[in-house]
Every structure is written in C-alpha cells, then in structure tokens.
C-alpha cells in the first residue's frame, strides 16, 4: 500500500526533470535576455516543485519518517516564493542597464507605463497652472491640456488603445 507513494514520487521527479530540461532548452534557444528569463524561470520553478515534493513522497514510500514530507514542502514553498522575486529583480536590472529588446518583440509595457507616468505628471502640472490662472475658464485649460497630451503622444509614437 505504501509503495504507491514511492511510485507517485518517482513520477513527480520524472516530470520535474522534464521541466528542468525544458527550462535549460529555453535558456539556450531564446534570442533575448527577457525571453530567456521568461522561458527558464517559470519552468524551473515548476520542475523544482515536482522534484522536491516527489523526493518527500518517495522517502515516505521507502519507509523513512513522515518529517521528510514537511521538510520538502518547506523547501518547495521557499523556492516558489523567492524564485519569481529574483527573476523580477534581475530583469529590472537588465532594463535599467539599457539592454535592448529583440527586434521581433512588439510589446513593451514597462516603457508605456513610464511614458504614461511622465505624461500624467505633466498634465497634472498644466491643469493646476490653468486652474490657478483662470478659475472660471476650466474648459479651455483642460482642452489645452489634452492637446498637449495628444501632441506628446504623437511624437513619441505611442499606440493608445
């Protein structure tokens, strides 16, 4: 009866090593830092979950103590929590360093967010200035603000959906 746990654990370890292999394959295959991180980190996290919990189940199936399962679950939860954080910090460092995207990449949400943040600050400043200059004519002030916004949007080439 308890050998079923051993078989389940070995199946989980096989699935985990397969995902490890997929992660390193993506690390070799992909053309860019960002694509490499995106293919390798997620599958390596899933593969390590499979391998570590599979080892715990296999140990219990071999007749060792039940504390193996709790210890392996602790290690798996720690890796599940910290691996995305390290990948995020790495990729933010790459973006701050100015490593360009691959030429086939079409979406850059972080640059759009930075531009929108900058433009939002400028709109708030102009809106406050027009409000202090002419308290009654708020319509003209807001209209000039939107015109400025559309001009900056055109010259930066932002796609607004």
């Amino acid at each position: 009866m308890i050998e079923v746990l051993s078989w389940i654990g070995q199946a989980l370890i096989l699935i985990g090593t397969f995902f490890y292999f997929l992660s390193t394959l993506g690390l070799i295959r992909m053309p860019d830092v960002y694509n490499r991180m995106q293919t390798s980190t997620k599958s390596a996290t899933l593969g390590s979950l499979g391998v570590i919990i599979g080892v715990g189940l296999w140990a219990v199936g071999k007749g060792y103590s039940v504390a193996w399962i709790s210890m392996t679950v602790i290690i798996a939860a720690f890796i599940l929590l910290t691996n995305p954080i390290s990948a995020h910090v790495l990729i933010k460092a790459a973006y701050e360093k100015g490593i360009p995207l691959w030429h086939g990449s079409v979406v850059d949400k972080y640059r759009e967010f930075l531009e929108r943040e900058k433009k939002g600050e400028r709109n708030e400043e102009t809106g406050a200035k027009s409000g202090t200059e002419a308290d009654a004519g708020t319509g003209s002030g807001s209209r000039t603000g939107t015109q400025e916004g559309s001009q900056t949007g055109i010259e930066t080439g932002e796609v607004r959906t």
Partner: protein
C-alpha cells in the same frame, strides 16, 4: 536505487546545458540568469542526494543553499543596476 542515477544524470545534463549560456552569454545579465537557473537545479540535486544517502539533515543543507543563492542573486542584481 538504480532510478536515482537516472534522475541525477538528467539534472546533470540540464546543468551542463545551462553552462553553455554562462560561457556564451552576450551580456552579464544573461550569465546571471543562467547562474540563477543553475542554483535552482542544484537545490533539486541536493534534495535527491539527501534521499540517496538516507539522511534528513542534508535537506537543511539544501534549504540553506537556497537562501544563500537567493541573497546572492539579489546582491548581484543590485550591483548591476548600480544600487550598491
């Protein structure tokens, strides 16, 4: 214990394949991503070795290695970003 060698061999092949990116990567962040993946693979390998030797205390070694690898990657990323 024969399937254990097969699993260790599979993870070892994955480590060697990720070593390619460490030597070949164009930028420093490429090499650091590859090293991050190698540490994750090494934690899995350490857990397998703990079962191979049948000692539960070796799982603590894997846990401490995971903590230190996380701190090291964070420190290197802050250094590349220009924070330190």
């Amino acid at each position: 214990m024969t399937p254990m060698y097969v699993y260790l061999l599979l993870i070892g092949i994955a480590v060697v394949l990720s070593m390619y990116r460490v030597f070949r990567g164009p930028t420093a962040v490429d090499r650091l991503v590859a090293v991050d993946i190698m540490t994750t693979l090494t934690v899995g390998m350490m857990v397998l070795y703990a079962l191979y030797y049948g000692r539960m205390i070796y799982l603590s070694v894997a846990l401490v290695y995971a903590v230190l690898a996380f701190a090291g990657v964070i420190a290197f990323a802050r250094y590349l970003e220009g924070g330190i």
